[in-house]
């Protein structure tokens, strides 16, 4: 087992060296931002090499912090370069303007609800994003935000049930699964709407 770990570590180390070398050579600011994403991968790789439940629990915060930094940096890049918001009114592709987005979104949402939990939220959210991106939209962002907040609270409440009244674990499990499902769907659909005509 230790030998496998060492080989994995060596591979991650090589990947890290390549990524950092690219970062040193590259001079364009936008390309460096993209390369940073590549640099993040070895750090997640080192954590993943632990190969235990702990590793899974550690990757998520590591990933979240990485994404937060990437978002902050890209926001700075946009203001620094003085880029204006470009208006995009749906995608101008024939297939997408027909009924395809509706069917695909419905399929994705159904599959996501069956999966439930974080993965299901991701799949269903992708369906909603796709729909919003393909069609224009006039949504109440405050309502979506509120739904996201409430489902987050349900998720947290479920964790308290797990900790303090573990006899009701089944109820807590359902609450956590549905809470995170709704939260991820809503958050991802907000991403889809923001991309639209820039009033989000």
């Amino acid at each position: 087992m230790w030998q496998e770990y060492s080989i994995g570590l060596l591979l991650v180390f090589i990947a890290g060296v390549i990524a950092f070398f690219a970062l040193v050579v590259e001079k364009d600011d936008l390309h460096r931002l993209l390369l940073l994403d590549l640099v993040e991968v070895p750090s997640l790789g080192i954590i993943a090499l632990l190969g235990t439940d702990l590793a899974e629990a550690l990757i998520l915060p590591g990933l979240v912090v990485g994404i937060a930094e990437l978002l902050a940096l890209s926001q700075i890049y946009v203001t620094k370069e003085g880029l204006k918001e470009r208006k995009v009114q749906g995608l101008n592709i024939e297939v997408i303007q027909a009924d395809a987005p509706l069917i695909i979104s419905v399929l994705l949402i159904c599959y996501g609800v069956i999966l439930s939990g974080f993965t299901g939220g991701g799949v269903a959210g992708l369906g909603v994003v796709f729909y919003f991106m393909a069609r224009g939209h006039r949504e109440h962002f405050e309502l979506l935000e509120m739904a996201s907040g409430i489902s987050w609270a349900i998720w947290i409440f479920a964790f308290f049930v797990f900790m303090f009244i573990p006899e009701y674990w089944l109820l807590a499990l359902f609450m956590a699964a549905i809470g995170i499902l709704l939260k991820v769907i809503v958050k991802m659909s907000l991403v889809g709407t923001m991309w639209g005509d820039g009033n989000g």
């Binding site: 950092f20 993040e40 750090s43 632990l50 930094e69 926001q75 620094k80």
Partner: protein, 220 residues
């Protein structure tokens, strides 16, 4: 407790399962410092920078919009909370997470400033901070792999658990990248941003994480 903690014996160890927070004389002093400066950031009124025109007695005051100031105060307070967490946590992975949060917040404090020099500096510093998460998280994961625990209390009380020197070096390298006190050449430009109490949070948090990482490296 087998070994002596250079930061003094903890008065109190708060445990949440395997995650823990401990208050020793050293960590408590740092925590209070971070707390006091966060309170300053909450109550202080921001400075209004004045530029003197060279060769005359004219001057002009820089105007900063209210929305921008509110955002920067929020980021400064967030930075204070992240530093407080980094000061008292006894879990190595939480420590690295708090350190990288300090890095993001430092970028955030100056990100709203409409000054090209400041934004360029913040961008370059952000790139350094982001790439420093590799040695930072890498060190935490390697510590978990070699010793089987992430708890600092466990690591100093059990003499059999030794963290390799190279892993400690990685940890320090990561913290240096996130903006440790003597290494913030990239941050110097960021301090041109107007709005005194908030910008000082950048340097204070750098000092605090520098002091804490010394203790962490000596303890583990």
């Amino acid at each position: 407790m087998g070994m002596v903690n250079p930061g003094g014996t903890p008065y109190f160890i708060l445990e949440f399962g395997d995650e823990l927070v401990y208050f020793s004389p050293y960590t408590v002093s740092l925590f209070i410092l971070a707390l006091v400066f966060t309170i300053f950031a909450v109550i202080a009124r921001p400075e209004r920078q004045v530029d003197i025109v060279f060769g005359g007695d004219a001057f002009y005051a820089k105007e900063t919009s209210l929305a921008e100031l509110k955002f920067r105060r929020f980021m400064a307070i967030a930075c204070g909370f992240a530093s407080m967490g980094a000061m008292v946590t006894g879990d190595l992975f939480n420590f690295t997470l708090f350190i990288s949060l300090v890095g993001i917040c430092n970028v955030g404090i100056v990100a709203a400033v409409k000054n090209r020099h400041v934004q360029n500096a913040a961008y370059q510093y952000g790139i350094v901070a982001l790439s420093a998460t590799v040695p930072l998280f890498g060190a935490a994961a390697l510590i978990a792999a070699t010793t089987g625990t992430l708890s600092m209390v466990e690591l100093w009380s059990n003499a059999a658990l030794a963290v390799p020197l190279v892993v400690k070096a990685l940890l320090v390298l990561g913290v240096m990248g996130e903006g440790m006190a003597p290494f913030y050449a990239a941050k110097a430009e960021m301090f041109r941003a107007p709005g005194a109490p908030y910008v000082i949070m950048c340097s204070l948090s750098s000092l605090l994480i520098f002091l804490r990482v010394i203790e962490v490296v000596l303890v583990i």
